[in-house]
Structure formats: structure tokens, C-alpha cells
């Protein structure tokens, strides 16, 4: 009982007639005027909200096969599967084991390209354990993403294609927020625009100005998770290019380092050594480069090998 105050006086009839009035109106509402609130489940179904976390659906065309979903899964119920797709060629796409899934939705939240969604479909029971394991082809639905608006925040940011960039510094000069700085790449001749995305106001002037169209304005979904960034240890890098080939988001470019040519026998100079250059705006933090590098030249905190 709540302390203080005079106890409300209620006669013995108030204990009986008041509740009876309440239940009587309920009875009239449910029996005579209308129907109960209950949903007759197999025939009717609840209108579930969009954010309901049910069966997974994967957009094959958006998915880049980075494996962030596999890494973040707390129950270790996702895996990457190599498949041959007639349209997309040899790709890697994730599958889900619904028998172990706890439907936390981390995989959908961490997906950098919003290719993985969770639908409102909840009738997933099966009498065989094997059929609970859904491969990438079972959860494929390329059209699902267009059926609703994504809840995650996205913004227009310039994304750099470093292979086209010629280092003209026009973008840095035109940027109204002065958030682009041309930084020389260590041990190479080239320069690379470093974009401070926290200052960027998404006006797109840099993309308009760029003569080579190396900068394009792209909608990027903001991640809820802080993803690790790769760092290159230049003295160890052999320039083999394995990381650039493995990178799912094509954020690694190989640059030649002049002055490192070996002198061959005939006095000729060989090809210069290469180094990897990371474009961190594109990086999704999957750690593939770190796992691939055989020379321990890339360090990435928080990623398992």
C-alpha cells in the first residue's frame, strides 16, 4: 500500500458491482458487439513491424562478400560459401544456420552495403536439423531491399577511385568546408586526397570539379559498429598485391615506389617495388587484407587471423 493519505472508502458492494460493470462491458464488447482482440493464428496473422527480426534475406547484387556478418555473429551461425553464379561469376556469399541463430540482427546492422535484411517471416520451424541450415541460395531475394525504406542513416559522401586520380588538387581547392587535403603517399610520387568525412557537407562540389571523375558521390550507410582500420607497415610490404585482389570493396591500390628498382645483371633496371595504398573511405573493416598478407605487413587490431 502507498503510505499516507486517507484510505479510499469503498463499500462491500463496490468490490463486487464495480468489477462486474467492468467485465460486463467487456463481455458485451467481445460477445455481442464485436470480437475479442485475440488473433486466430493459423488463419490470421499479426501485422508485424518492419523492424521485426525474422528470416534473413540476402541481396546478391548488393552483397560484396566481405564477411562482416560472419565475423560479428555472436553464435557463430553464419559462414561464407563459394558459389558460381551465372550472372555474377565466382562469388562468396553468407549462409545462415537458423538452428543456432538468436535473431539479434547484428549481421543486418553490420552489413556495409545493406545487402542483408531480416524479414518479418517467423514460421521457420522444421523437423529436420539439416533443413534449418539455409545456404546463400535459400536466403537470396534480390528484390527485397526495394520493398521498404531502410532505417539506417545514410549520407552522400565522395568516394575515391584512386586509380583514376591524377593528383591535380582541384578538389582540395574547391571544397567549401576545407575538408580535403592532398597528402603525399609515402615513398611514391603520387598524392592522394584525404577526405575528412566528419566535416563533409555532401555538396558534391569535389565530384563536379574532378577532371578524371575519380571522385563520385555515393550514398554510404553509417555503421553502428566501429570497424577496425588496416595499417600498413611499409618496410615489410613486398608489393605482391594479394590484399588488393582479396579486398571485397576494392579499397586497396598498388602503387609503384620509384627508386627501389633492383639493378639487374645487364645494368638494366628492373621493375620498381610496389606498395599497397588504402582508401579508408571505402574500407569496410572486414580484415581480409590482414588475413591474406603473408608478410605481416598489415596490422589490424581486433581482427582474428
Amino acid at each position: 500500500m502507498v503510505a499516507g493519505g486517507r484510505p479510499r472508502k469503498r463499500g462491500s458492494l463496490g468490490f463486487v458491482l464495480k468489477p462486474m460493470k467492468r467485465t460486463g462491458s467487456q463481455l458485451v464488447r467481445t460477445l455481442i458487439l464485436g470480437k475479442p482482440n485475440t488473433v486466430l493464428y493459423p488463419e490470421q496473422k499479426l501485422d508485424l513491424p518492419q523492424v521485426y527480426r525474422g528470416k534473413h534475406v540476402l541481396d546478391f547484387k548488393k552483397c560484396i562478400g566481405c564477411g562482416n556478418c560472419v565475423t560479428i555473429c555472436p553464435n557463430d551461425c553464419m559462414w561464407l560459401e563459394k558459389i558460381d553464379d551465372p550472372e555474377l561469376g565466382k562469388i562468396e556469399r553468407p549462409g545462415v544456420d537458423l538452428g543456432r541463430c538468436l535473431f539479434c540482427g547484428f549481421c543486418a546492422e553490420v552489413c556495409p552495403t545493406v545487402a542483408l535484411h531480416m524479414t518479418t517471416e517467423f514460421e521457420l520451424a522444421n523437423d529436420k536439423r539439416d533443413e534449418l541450415k539455409l545456404g546463400p541460395k535459400d536466403i537470396r531475394d534480390d528484390a527485397f531491399g526495394s520493398t521498404f525504406t531502410e532505417e539506417r542513416q545514410k549520407r552522400l559522401v565522395p568516394v575515391l577511385d584512386l586509380s583514376k586520380c591524377n593528383g591535380c588538387e582541384k578538389c582540395a581547392g574547391e571544397c567549401p568546408e576545407i575538408c580535403i587535403a592532398m597528402m603525399p603517399i609515402e615513398k611514391t610520387d603520387a598524392k592522394k586526397p584525404e577526405i575528412n568525412l566528419s566535416k563533409c557537407s555532401s555538396k558534391g562540389i569535389c565530384a563536379e570539379v574532378c577532371p578524371e571523375k575519380a571522385l563520385t558521390m555515393t550514398e554510404v550507410y553509417e555503421s553502428y559498429f566501429e570497424m577496425p582500420e588496416p595499417k600498413l607497415m611499409l618496410d615489410k610490404c613486398s608489393g605482391c598485391g594479394a590484399c588488393a585482389r582479396k579486398c571485397p570493396s576494392e579499397a586497396i591500390y598498388m602503387y609503384e615506389m620509384p627508386g627501389t628498382e633492383k639493378t639487374l645483371k645487364g645494368g638494366k633496371k628492373g621493375k620498381p617495388k610496389k606498395r599497397a595504398v588504402f582508401v579508408l573511405e571505402k574500407c569496410v573493416g572486414c580484415g581480409r587484407c590482414y588475413q591474406t598478407c603473408r608478410f605481416d605487413a598489415i596490422s589490424m587490431s581486433g581482427v582474428e587471423r
Binding site: 467492468r22 467485465t23 463481455l27 482482440n37
Partner: protein, 375 residues
Amino acid sequence: MNLFEFCYGIIHWLVDLVNNLWYRLGDVLPWYFGDFFTGVGDFAASDSHLSFMTILLESIIIILVALINVLNFLWIFRKISGRILDFYGPYYVGYRIGGWLQNLADGIKLFLKEIIVPTKADKLGFFLAPIIFVGSSLLILSVIPLSENFGLSTNSSGEYVPAGALFALAAFSIAPFAILLAGWSSNNKYTLIGGMRSAAQMMSYEIPLILCAASVFLLAGSFNFVDIVDAQRDIWFFVPMFIGFVVFLVCLIAEVEIVPFDLPEAEAELVEGWTTEYGGMRFGLFYMTTAIRSYAGGALATALFLGGWQGPSLIPDEIWFLIKAYIVYTVFMWLTWSVPRIRIDQMLGLGWRRLLPLAVLNLLIAAVLKTGGWF
């Protein structure tokens, strides 16, 4: 034609049919066997045998009608509880008739279950308690007529059991003994507490109930159901004795042991109380018997206070009686799902300090009405 004549006709016809065989056998067979079969035929045609079989058939018909009503009552119980708590209630079994067949399905399921007797239970008491409980509850129904023509009578003039109302009230109060027996013989603390509570409840609620019934007997001047209903031709008794009617209904709920007064089988405190150790169809019988007793209670309230089968003659008398009993039962259910169970320490206080003075007051009103010459 009343029920006795109807049953007597059937029995007479059957006995004639079979006696043909007996007498023919008596003619055909040698004297020793022939005498025996002739004797059998004579016994079958005797008055005592005929009336005994007639009364048996009558009681079977009455119990069948009661059991069909009990199915309806269980359906109403589940449907109303569902709708008041905002869900559908029985729905799929018997979809076209509102889930009416659900109780039959549950009964079949209970029949298939194993009957378990606790090792340390008193076997005889454990076996007898359901029999007494169900039997006494069916006994109440045997004396309650549905109309002047539909009731258990012993002769063709249609005179029912002379003190039918008293007999019904007496049969009503046998059940607590069966409950006490069940509670003791189950050898379980919950069942024992449930049985004791039942006894205490009977102590406190039987007396106001009988006093209210006594005021009705005073006004009607008879213990017979037919006379009591006839006395209500001008005005139903619940109008002059409204206090008595309310007290009677409250005491009936306590007698029937449904929710506000279901202390003997309080699920929350006593894990189904005295029925804890009973499983399978024995539990099903208890469940059914609660509905039988509710039906009997509704019928008693109808006959004593609501004018019995009195009503416009558009509908047959029996249907009028049943409609009134159903309405009383629906009010019971409405009350059941509205109020919480009373505490054990409030139970005796409510019975002795509130209901008993009101019942005495009601008896006083009845005495004043009777001496004033209005009835």
C-alpha cells in the same frame, strides 16, 4: 401426459413384449421349468416391479437431460471466461456450433489417461469420495422438476416428492463430506487443507442458505416444488424478498464452490486443493460435477425465487425453466470472472456477520408478509 405416464407406457409395452416370451416358454416347457418362467412373467407384470422400473427410467431420462445441460453449462463457462478475458474460448472443435464439442473432446482425452492412486492413500476413501460427490450431485437433480409434467414422481397423478425442496437442499450439503473424505484419504497436506476449508465453508454458508429457503417455504406454505412454483403465479418471490434472493445466490456460489468462494480448491494456494491427487477421468468427473452443481443451484434459485416454469406460454414450460436456470448460471459466471477469491479469514466473517443477519431479516420480512395476509 406427464413423465410418469410416459415412462409407465414404455415399461408396460416392454414388459408385455417380453412376457409373451416368458408365458410361451411356460406353456411349452415341462412343468418344473414352465412354472419358473410363468413366475418370472408374473413378477414382471406385478405393480411393484412396473413402478420400480418406471422410476428408474424416469431418473435415467432426467439425468440424461441434466448431462446435456451440463455440456451446455461447461460450454458457457469456457466461452464466457474467454470473452471476458478477451480471447475466443473454445473455437475449433465444433466450429459451426461455437466450439460446443470441445468439452466432449476433452472428456475423451481424460478417459484415455491413466488413473493414479497414491501409494499411501486410503484406498477405500479415495475410491468412495468421487462416487459420493458425483452421486449426491446427481441426487439433487432427481427431485427438481422442470415443469409440472417433467419431474420424478411415484404415481400417475404427478405428485412429486413431497418435501422435494428440502431433499434437494439436503443432497446439496452431502458434498462437503465427500470432499473431506477425499482430502483425508489422499494423504496430502493440500488436499487435507482443502477438505477442512470445505467443511468450514459449509458451516458458515449452509445456515443462511437454509434460512432463505425457509422464508420461501413460509410464504409458499409447502416443501413441494410444484406448490412453491404455483404460489409464485402472481408475483415471483424475488420481488418481495430481494435481500433473501441475493443472500441465497451468494450462498449458492459458496455451496457450488466456484471462484469467489472456491477456497477448497484454490489453485494459487492449494494447487487445486482437494482434487490434487485425482487424475484422469476422476478429475473430469469432478470438473463435470461442478457444472452439475451449478445447474442444480441455478435450478433451485429458479424454482424458489424466479417463478420456476412460470412465463408466457409461447415457449414450453420446461424451456422457460431452463432459460431461467441458464440466466442464473450466466450471472454466476459473470461474478466469477469479475471478483477475486476471498481470503480464508474473510470467509467465516462474511458468512456469519453479514449473510446470517440478512437472512434472518429476510425471514422476518417473510413472516410479516405472511401474517399480514398478503400471501
